[in-house]
């Protein structure tokens, strides 16, 4: 993906309370949020946040309640005025905009979906969907056509004339989504948009969002406190703690290299087999043999013995995977007729491969059922490495030192 920054956040602060300047000074002296509150009755909402959101990605801002994530997203469209710092949207600093420019930005570039849906109870579904266009002064016919298109995208065109309170929660949020889509924004801000829905509907809505995103690549900023949700839909995740952005990265990066204990604790309950892919953990430490003309099996056997390995991965000149040979299969080869002593004749039977994008969950049966490490290939069939049972288990262990404890705790809850 081409990675140009759509939104750039630079040294952003939000301080609630009577003495914001003093609080920033104290922050710079290294005092904690709590100490500053005690001294000045001033609450740190967001402190020194800097990150970039790329065009066309789903960027999830995650944190517990009170971590400042809702404040953060509201500073991206200035529903909350930042205390200091800059927010650039398409290179323009929105913190310097006057009311008129700000209204234009909100009408044309950004829209928002809310946790509480925030639909207008006195308007019909289609009027709600057309709300942003109505504010922008679009004529009635155009806005109803576009609102209806947006409702079709979320599968609610049949309910256009209903009132929001006649719909279920999930359907109401679809209207909320349609309202956001109808203005055809570059940027969609979603504040805990699915948190109020029950789990089944939530998953459904996440799929819906991913489907919509596959059709029209928007830049989506998604606020969530639900890690599973963040993992499912996020291209990249920013983790916030006490108003600070502690880590930004892809789910895999964060899972494998958590920045601190807070992040690690966050990810403790996560099943890494759903997140990590074969490509993430494959290791290229196995013996590989170039097939060239296939006529030098002896050299291959020597490499195996020298490296003290039982299996070797045979690749062609483009590093495309051909098959697996073992010390035994190579030895058997030498008992055969001289003309038959070609490497392909020593290939083991029943070899399967996995793609780099397969999840650990997907490859588990294959890793378990063969004595040799599972070969992992990229999209073009090139060999990336292999995953042994050992490696698989080590990955599980490294990511979940307390998985058992967590499992027991959740059993206890039920």
């Amino acid at each position: 993906m081409e990675q140009t920054a759509k939104i750039k956040v630079r040294n952003l602060f939000k301080i609630f309370g009577p003495h914001p300047k003093k609080a920033i000074k104290l922050l710079e002296q290294g005092l904690t949020k709590e100490e500053i509150f005690e001294k000045t009755e001033t609450t740190i909402g967001v402190q020194r946040a800097s990150f970039e959101i790329y065009t066309g990605e789903i960027f999830v801002i995650m944190g517990l309640s009170g971590s400042g994530k809702s404040t953060m997203v509201r500073m991206l469209n200035r529903l909350i005025e930042p205390t200091s710092g800059q927010v650039f949207v398409d290179g323009e600093d929105i913190t310097c905009m006057n009311t008129e420019q700000l209204v234009k930005l909100r009408r044309q570039k950004m829209s928002m979906v809310f946790q509480s849906f925030a639909l207008m109870p006195h308007m019909t579904v289609i009027e709600n969907a057309a709300f942003g266009l109505e504010l922008d002064g679009t004529d009635k016919l155009t806005r109803e056509t576009r609102a209806l298109q947006a409702l079709e995208q979320v599968g609610l065109e049949a309910w256009a004339q209903s009132r929001p309170d006649e719909l279920s929660g999930g359907m109401q949020q679809r209207v909320g989504l349609a309202r956001g889509l109808a203005v055809d924004p570059d940027i969609l801000l979603m504040d805990e948009a699915f948190s109020a829905l029950d789990p089944l509907i939530r998953t459904e809505m996440q799929d819906e969002l991913l489907k919509l995103q596959a059709k029209a690549k928007r830049t989506i900023v998604f606020i969530s406190h639900d890690l599973d949700e963040a993992m499912r839909i996020g291209d990249r995740i920013a983790i916030m703690e006490g108003g600070r952005v502690v880590q930004v990265g892809s789910p895999e990066e964060i899972l494998q290299n958590p920045a601190n204990d807070y992040v690690r604790a966050f990810f403790r309950g996560v099943d890494p087999t759903n997140i990590l892919t074969a490509g993430d953990i494959a290791s290229d430490t196995q013996v590989t043999i170039p097939i060239t003309d296939g006529k030098n099996p002896r050299a291959g056997l020597q490499r195996l013995i020298k490296n003290d390995r039982d299996y070797a991965y045979v690749l062609d000149s483009n590093r495309c995977f051909q098959g697996i040979v073992s010390t035994d299969s190579l030895r058997e080869l030498f008992e055969k007729d001289k003309s038959q002593q070609l490497i392909p004749n020593a290939f083991l039977e029943g070899v399967v491969t996995a793609k780099a994008s397969d999840s650990m969950q997907d490859i588990l049966p294959e890793v378990a059922s063969h004595p040799w490490p599972l070969p992992i290939l990229d999209e073009e069939g090139k060999y990336l490495g292999a995953i042994s049972k050992n490696l698989f288990l080590r990955t599980l262990h490294r990511n979940q030192p307390e998985q058992l404890a967590v499992a027991e705790a959740s059993d206890g809850e039920q």
Partner: protein, 279 residues
């Protein structure tokens, strides 16, 4: 000097007020007379409708409005009420009272709804207006009846002005309440989609406050009706007249039918206007 000697008046506020009103009357009476003009016009209009039109048209008008907005039962009740006041010999007075009450409510809405919106949107304005509203609701009307007469002279228009002072607070308060009750998320959502302050007001706050504003209108109407008798003391005429006259001459019967007509009229108007708010 003894600070707690209350035998002597230390603050002659009564004298100050007296001289202030005298000064107003002497120097600026023309301003107050000018204020009367729009009220007089409005009153004349309504009075013409109710007194010049044949009673059957007026009755039909009310029954139709009641039937359209409040249903058959209220329509029937309105019909009986209007027929009854006619048969009691109070048609003329009832119509004058109706014109007066409706004019008062019209001006209360004209002033009260914008004031309510302002108090609903601004905490500072609310802090300023609340004691004023408290005063308007608690000062006995008799206190401001005399200055009103001094400034505006006696008559129906002065009666309406006194009624406006008395009946204004509920519509201001309930409009403000309605505006404040709009969920902050809805306002946030409107702002997020680029609503200007005026659009928030027109497209979100007022439509959602409408039931509360209607309830305020209904309360204002009820209070205006309860001023009818007091207004009659300064020559406002209408249904207050038989009551005041009855009390002065100890004609209990006359006072009773006047009172009965006021109550019936109040119930009729209450039921009809309540149905506006529920729609």
């Amino acid at each position: 000097m003894n600070f707690l000697n209350f035998d002597k008046k230390l603050i002659p506020l009564d004298d100050w007020v007296q001289s202030f009103v005298d000064w107003l009357v002497f120097n600026h009476r023309d301003i107050f007379q000018a204020i009367k003009v729009p009220i007089e016009l409005c009153l004349k209009g309504f009075q013409w409708i109710f007194t010049e039109l044949p009673p059957v048209v007026v009755i039909l008008l009310f029954v139709l409005v009641a039937w359209r907005f409040a249903g058959k039962k209220i329509a029937l009740f309105s019909l009986i009420t209007l027929l009854l006041v006619g048969y009691l010999g109070l048609w003329e007075e009832t119509m004058v009272t109706l014109a007066m009450v409706i004019s008062s409510v019209f001006f209360c809405a004209l002033v009260g709804i914008p004031l309510g919106i302002m108090t609903g949107r601004s905490d500072r304005f609310e802090v300023f207006l609340r004691p004023v509203l408290d005063a308007m609701q608690t000062i006995p009307p008799f206190v401001y009846l005399v200055p009103v007469v001094m400034l505006f002279s006696i008559g129906t228009v002065s009666g309406i002005l006194a009624t406006i002072v008395f009946a204004l607070p509920p519509i201001v308060r309930l409009t403000s309440l309605g505006i404040r009750q709009v969920h902050p998320e809805l306002i946030e959502a409107a702002l997020a989609f680029g609503a200007t302050s005026g659009q928030v007001l027109r497209k979100v706050q007022i439509p959602l406050a409408l039931p509360s504003i209607m309830a305020g209108l209904n309360q204002t109407l009820m209070m205006a009706l309860s001023m009818v008798v007091i207004a009659a003391l300064i020559g406002a005429g209408g249904l207050g007249n038989p009551v005041v006259q009855g009390l002065n001459t100890l004609e209990i019967g006359l006072a009773t039918i006047g009172g009965l007509a006021i109550v019936l009229l109040a119930m009729m108007l209450d039921r009809i206007t309540q149905s506006f708010g529920q729609r």
